[in-house]
């Protein structure tokens, strides 16, 4: 059986569409949850530009502390935001306007499939990636943040 060029093209387009649909459906619900959360808690929206949200819930003080220390490396990166329900101190060398405190702890209840610290990657108002962070994988994950 042979395929014409147009048939091959249609197959490729369908395949790409399928991947795209899968990717959207993977995070569409979580994008809704995260958008609603940002709106309700901070009156903000998911930005259009690629943004890295570090999620620091009120659990595992050691995990939160190691991420806080890492955040100081990214003090000048405008596309990095930390959201925390952790009651401890703010990192010394990270701008407070990009360190959002959730005193009501709605963050801890947000269903993002994360059980602790994490990284949410967004672009064009959509979540494109969710990565659980731990002291063990922190350094390798941070290589994708820029």
């Amino acid at each position: 059986m042979t395929f014409s060029f147009s048939e091959k093209l249609i197959t490729v387009v369908l395949f790409l569409l399928l991947i795209s649909c899968n990717n959207n459906s993977k995070y569409s619900k979580k994008t809704d949850y995260f958008s609603n959360y940002l709106k309700k808690t901070f009156d903000k929206e998911i930005p259009d530009t690629k943004t890295f949200f570090f999620i620091l819930p009120n659990s595992c003080p050691g995990c939160v502390k190691s991420i806080q220390e890492s955040l100081e490396r990214f003090a000048t990166n405008e596309n990095i935001i930390a959201i925390t329900s952790y009651a401890g101190a703010t990192p010394k060398n990270f701008p407070s306007e990009r360190y959002w405190r959730d005193t009501g702890r709605a963050l801890d209840k947000l269903n993002l499939g994360l059980g602790g610290t994490g990284l949410i990657i967004t672009e064009k108002k959509e979540i494109t990636g969710i990565i659980a962070l731990s002291p063990e994988n922190l350094d390798s994950v941070l290589t994708i943040v820029r």
Binding site: N36, A87, K109, L114, G115
Partner: protein, 370 residues
Amino acid sequence: MSELFSCSNTNKGVAEQYSSFLIDSFKKEIPFENYSVRYTTVFFDKKNKTDYIYMLNTDRMLIHGYNLNKQQFDFTLNIPLKFDEQISYVVLDKDSLYFISNPEDRKICCVNSKGEITQSWQITDSTKAYGKEYSISAFYSWPLMLDEKFIYTSYYPLYSLADTTNHKKYFTQPKIVVISKNNGSIVNEIIHFPEKYIANSYREYNLSCTMNSNNEIIVSFRGEDSVLLYNTKDKTYKYKLMMSSFFTMKNVYKEDTTMDHYASLTKYSVENSSYFSIQYDKFRKKYYRVCLHKYKYDNDDGTVNTSGERPWSIVVADSAFNIEKEIVFPRLKYNYGNILITSKGVLVSKSNAYNKNYKQNELNYDIFIF
């Protein structure tokens, strides 16, 4: 050890409402900047017949002492230790605050009322796994325990428990170490998890313990209806039944691959009941065992329920472990992780972070006599 189980006390009583046992309340604003209460304990000053609440501010390593009789903050201590992942302390008297500050330091320090370290023990044991695979730790529900000669505290694994190949090693290792006050050496290892934890995965790594007035250690495993008594004098063990009407045997853990490992663990934890803590009330000679009831994890609105939002109860037993009652507390009103035993009664914190009226800078307790 099944022959050691006592089956004389089953909890057949009807659960009682908490409000019948409420005798008093107090609320006080915490007047310190950037305060984050992480570790709270109590101390009864026999000489002045006064209860103090000690509150550790881990951001600044300060302890604030709240006088419960005068309803005021009486003193602040600088603690000359560094806060790392977790810290635990117990107050024996005003000049004897015992601290474990960092598992990797392997050190226990005694601090006096001037904030000076008066004694410290570098914990040593060259013959066993200690120092290589384990350090020591303590926490609210598994505190440091002391008698005249020894310090009792928990082993802390230096390997990852997320790696299931480590489970057999963890669940077969003794859980509590006995440390000589004389020279800091480990002189004994006591308390093992029940065998079923080795064979099955219940994902309950922590135990809770308390010491009674006879220097017996009482251990509560999170998935066991019985508690284990260890007599520190004759080194014998026996089980006593102290069950909740709300506890049902946990399902064996299965990873939910649609979510992160830690979210899957939280879901499993919330959806199963467990025993959280055990405390001895030396003033009224009773035991209190907190049972967390199972609850739903997922909500329809994109939120999940955390462990702090579950309904819970306290099983009350007398000094012979006869169950007197079980008292049910409502969801969200109290913090089951902050219960303090004082001469005035049992203080149950109303600082539940998921309560809409929660204020971080506030001491807010109800006082109960059970």
